[in-house]
Symmetry: C2
Subunit: 398 residues, 2 copies
């Protein structure tokens, strides 16, 4: 069995356990043309693309049913893990309704979610279709969101998953090391990004997110911070901060780190006071948030501690969440360690679980110098959390 | 301006014209975390990923509004094409509702569709959220599916798009040529696929669909046909057919072709009669369908002609659609040239338009020899259709 097939089996076993834990009879993932409309949860439990409408049904009593177009059936069989594969030719309606009537679940959890994009793979139009399929069989009212199932399934990394993330982090740290050697007066943002891309290519890796913004590079005080792409008008000069947000994807799993350098002026013996002070405040706030992470805590409480620590030190609140899951995607959905802002919906109220991997991050702008952003990757353990990345404990000097 | 930005502008201009043509005041694409939940239509009019909830609103009177998280605003500005970019921090609800109340469209077309996966990028959970945002402002009842807008926008290829598809086809044909040279007794399916992947990598291309199934390779009579991946137990022997379904993606645009070889036995001077007969029947049916393609015809009518031609020659109906759009994706959504089966929904009733690019395909199994599948790529012109690929007019012999 391939490593990927093994991983899918591991996740299918986990899914059955989570259904039992949450007292839900059955979970269905309903998709079509996943090349165009991928459902991120399907990567966990299948890992290949489906063409026609397809239903993957996992039950609390360990049935694993795939109802798929006849063209796709052989491929699902090859993945393994599904005990009952039902191919169809003209339409999925009959085999689907019959299967569900046989299973007769009290609740049928489905792949949609208001809060969590990683659990919202079901298109609205496809849902309208499904509702029509199920209407006559009185099954529509049993549908509930599967966000808590997918959140736990995606969030609780297996050992094999953590191993892959560790390897992505090691590779990312290696590239950060190389990037540091390339920073010198005159070098601009796209040149640094280009250098990173060459290293990624040479090592046969992918960037962890859209290459146009991975890495993001911020040189000096005028470069706009955020998810912006590198811009050529910003070049390194002595006395500037250089900030890079970057990660690689390796064997389908991501790292996501931020590192920051200070480029000394000739006469400078030490880092200017405002830069030093800002770095220490950012680091203190990051550590404060890190220190509160443990199984059972709600996400927003972690963010609040980090946010307050930074504000107490006289810096403005960062305009994003403190932490996000990390896995197959750099933003791996579900619970965030973030403020209870409208745009985050229910996700800050999610519960941190052992086995979760988070990227934790925050930053501070230093007037006249640039941006200090710190980001580390951590694993939630039974009692707290451990670092997966080698943390940046001091400014790196050029 | 980059080629990609130019392409997005071209498509935005097209979108305004399509809104006017269809008499719809405004079209909105609503998305979030597109790295996890990509909306295929956003590639056409933006081409970068969004993180927070984002609304792209195009109006019939040529307003192009983007309401996006403040982190993403700079990137949208860099793409160009949007005349009004509204960044937000805490939540999209207020700026979104206010913008829509100001525009006051009679109908607001939205990115969901029952029939067309390429027009169904809006997650069901995200739709529930949107409905709550819009409920107080009495805007919910103005929402309609934008499938006819996206279908035309995606389907009517601009000259720049056709040029990219042509280049993908040329590259694909080159690789087919190389594959042909590698077919010989003893070679198995994964070896042929591996060879194709090496050529794709060497030329800096991507496969047009999931690499595990691109190419699909079918050697001999026992290999299961469909979207199945290559399997090592099927190896070339004299007297077998070798069938390959393959395409590359080049500059974001795809080709999708099928080719078939016959491996002669030593003593054979000509192709066995049943193989020759089946090839000719498949080719005749493909040409019959091709001959009916012109602007204004409904998709299913094209399929019907090809299907009937094949059946008249004594072969069973193929178990799929005759044709599908080809573009950024190998299955590029919208109208299909396919039978009126339940699973195809409304898509066979779509109207063929000038500028459409289709992959047309069908096949026949030949007992004891293997599978003959033919697939060509064509462009719909003002009066009919022209071939983009160099058609396979006879069996290729090994």
């Amino acid at each position: 069995m391939s490593d990927n097939a093994k991983l899918a089996q591991e996740k299918l076993d986990q899914a059955v356990a989570i259904l039992d834990e949450q007292g839900i009879d059955a979970w269905m993932v309903f998709v079509r043309e996943t090349m165009l409309s991928p459902d991120p949860c399907l990567d966990l439990i299948l890992g290949i693309d489906m063409v026609w409408q397809s239903a993957f049904i996992i039950t609390r009593d360990n049935q694993r049913i795939a109802i798929v177009g006849h063209h796709d059936a052989e491929n699902v069989r090859a993945v393994g893990g599904y005990t009952n594969i039902i191919p169809y030719v003209e339409g999925i309606r009959n085999p689907l309704v019959n299967t569900l009537l046989n299973l007769n679940p009290l609740q049928l959890a489905l792949n949609y979610s208001e809060s969590d994009a990683a659990s919202d793979g079901l298109g609205h139009g496809l849902m309208l279709l499904l509702q029509r399929y199920l209407a006559d069989a009185d099954l529509v009212e049993r549908l509930v969101s599967s966000e808590s199932i997918i959140g736990s399934l995606r969030g609780r990394k297996s050992q094999a998953e953590v191993k892959r993330i560790r390897e992505a982090i090691v590779a990312t740290q290696g590239i950060f090391h190389e990037i540091g050697k390339a920073i010198k007066p005159g070098v601009n943002e796209p040149e640094i990004a280009q250098h990173a891309h060459e290293l990624v290519g040479k090592k046969g890796l992918d960037t962890a997110w859209d290459q146009g913004f991975c890495p993001t590079v911020d040189i000096g005080p005028d470069s706009p911070v955020g998810h912006a792409g590198p811009q050529a008008q910003y070049a390194v000069k002595p006395g500037m901060l250089v900030h890079v947000d970057f990660g690689v994807k390796r064997d389908d799993y991501c790292a996501d780190l931020q590192r920051v350098w200070y480029v000394r002026k000739d006469e400078e013996r030490s880092v200017p006071e405002p830069v030093k002070k800002a770095f220490n405040a950012a680091r203190r706030a990051l550590l404060a948030g890190f220190g509160t992470i443990k199984p059972g805590i709600e996400g927003w409480r972690v963010d609040e501690v980090a946010r307050k620590t930074l504000v107490e030190d006289g810096y403005p609140e960062y305009q994003h969440a403190f932490g996000h899951h990390l896995g197959r995607s750099a933003h791996d959905g579900a619970t965030i360690l973030g403020p209870r802002w409208e745009r985050y919906g229910q996700t800050p109220y999610g519960i941190v679980e052992a086995g979760n991997v988070f990227a934790i991050e925050l930053g501070v702008s230093v007037e006249g110098f640039g941006y200090i952003g710190l980001e580390e990757n951590i694993l939630v353990t039974e009692n707290g959390a451990e670092r997966l990345s080698e943390p940046q404990d001091e400014l790196w000097l050029i």
